[in-house]
Point group: C2
Chain length 292, copies 2
């Protein structure tokens, strides 16, 4: 095995420490950051994620309130709940846990979150700001994956990057973020003729598809960085989208699953919470400064 295994937990801890310091500053200014998690119906499906987020929130000095609504709630009622949270100055960020029942379209809910409280970075205007290279609140997984790459001793300007998977909230934002850093980016997906043609030419490969074993060692250029964003359950174990053993033989750096992108993603969520709180504080002060 030649690859250096990237320690996601250590990177996450650095970010949590920074976030904690900022949360303290905000609290002292009267703006203690506070997240509200919304889940609907079956609690078990999202429970692991929610528990983990709560644990990270504590480490980051962010208050975390869990709200669960019954499966029978209507879309209109949930929109009403969000309107209330948008208007409540004591709430700085809103997380919408998946899965949602079939009658609640997740995109409609995400658009109903005020962009300044969109800590998951999924509102169209948050995504549009990434395209404009103005990162305010970015989608957490994409931001985390790119931060991991930035932690490596690689120059991103001119780097050949292959992104496998073109979802709106992971693959595409990674592509824009890497373009913003000067990389030459190719985005592959299920309709790509030969993924390996593109992946083998790349200095860094991001994979976010949700298929265990999709990326094998022979699909990589020797020494490339492999950032594995997949989270799959196989025979009771959690694995990524890469065949770890064969990839680790070829890659220069590789993220493990679990312990790679995952912890950095949750710490990014907490970092977004404090960013959102500061933006709201600044917005409030700008808006009401004249009245004081």
């Amino acid at each position: 095995m030649s690859a250096t295994i990237i320690d996601g937990k250590a990177l996450a801890q650095v970010k949590l420490d920074e976030t904690y310091a900022e949360a303290q500053r905000l609290s002292e200014a009267g703006w203690a950051p506070r997240l509200v998690s919304i889940s609907v119906g079956d609690v078990a499906a999202a429970e692991l994620y929610v528990r983990n987020q709560k644990k990270y929130a504590e480490k980051a000095g962010v208050a975390f309130e869990v709200r669960n609504y019954p499966e029978t709630i209507s879309l209109e009622q949930l929109q009403g709940v969000l309107a209330g949270l948008n208007a409540d100055p004591r709430v700085n960020g809103i997380i919408i846990q998946r899965p949602l029942p079939a009658h609640i379209p997740v995109k409609v809910l995400q658009k109903a979150v005020h962009p300044l409280k969109d800590v998951e970075g999924m509102h169209p205007s948050s995504i549009g700001n990434i395209v404009y290279n103005e990162l305010e609140l970015g989608p957490c997984t994409a931001v985390a994956a790119v931060e991991i790459l930035k932690s490596l001793p690689l120059q991103t300007e001119g780097l050949n990057v292959c992104v496998i998977g073109h979802s709106e909230i992971v693959g595409k934002p990674i592509a824009f973020l890497m373009m913003g850093l000067g990389a030459t980016v190719t985005v592959c997906h299920h309709m790509t003729r030969q993924v390996s043609v593109h992946s083998r030419a790349a200095d860094a490969v991001f994979v976010a598809v949700g298929k265990p074993g999709l990326v094998h060692g022979e699909m990589l250029k020797p020494g490339a960085a492999l950032i594995d964003i997949g989270i799959n359950r196989v025979e009771g174990r959690t694995v990524g989208d890469a065949d770890f053993d064969s990839c680790a033989e070829v890659a220069g750096w590789i993220t493990p699953v679990p312990g790679g992108v995952g912890p950095v993603t949750v710490s990014t969520l907490m970092n977004n919470a404090v960013r959102a709180t500061r933006m709201q504080m600044d917005h409030y002060r700008t808006t009401f400064a004249a009245a004081e």
Copy 2:
């Protein structure tokens, strides 16, 4: 010469005819589409564009009002003008002509246009919607370039596409639009190590950089489609970013400059105007339906 020259004017006329028919339907419903063009300071710089837009507006059955403000106007005053236009139900679309004086940042003005009146498709939420594959009002040049490609007998699913230039309003949106159509997209720019490595592997090349002669025939795969979005003035002539003669020897299809992407872009602007008008009508009816 082997390439088929793409007739942008003919494609534009088809779109103008469709737009005219929709404008008539909207007018009969009491919603005659109307655009307002805002220019600031030196009129001459934007005059050719404005005159051309006015001519296309007439053909599309869209009212077109030209407003010119003196160079001395402040950003705050212009934002006030836009707030008034946003609120005015007789105005369905706002165009901000470039160039603007140095004290007026174009992005700030674009964000001040209401997303439902953003006929140029430049508001972050318009761009974000493209990422989400929900095209409402797309940036005109990018939409036009992609429509030209779609008019060719090529299957976009799995197509290898190279986009040269990664501006927020042309290169990046073309990349997302093509991804949405199933293409495998590589975006190159000034930091790309070797553009020709990517362009020569592509079935279709879009170039939008603003450098005459940037793309030569030997950078293309034989039979590829070349969509040239550049508009440059060289020795009194208008030319694109491609060296037309050498590219036409190798390409399967090529857009001329002028007469390629340009006319389709202006007809897309008019099409956005009628789309925006219909969205506003629907929005008005939904909002006030209960009161009727």
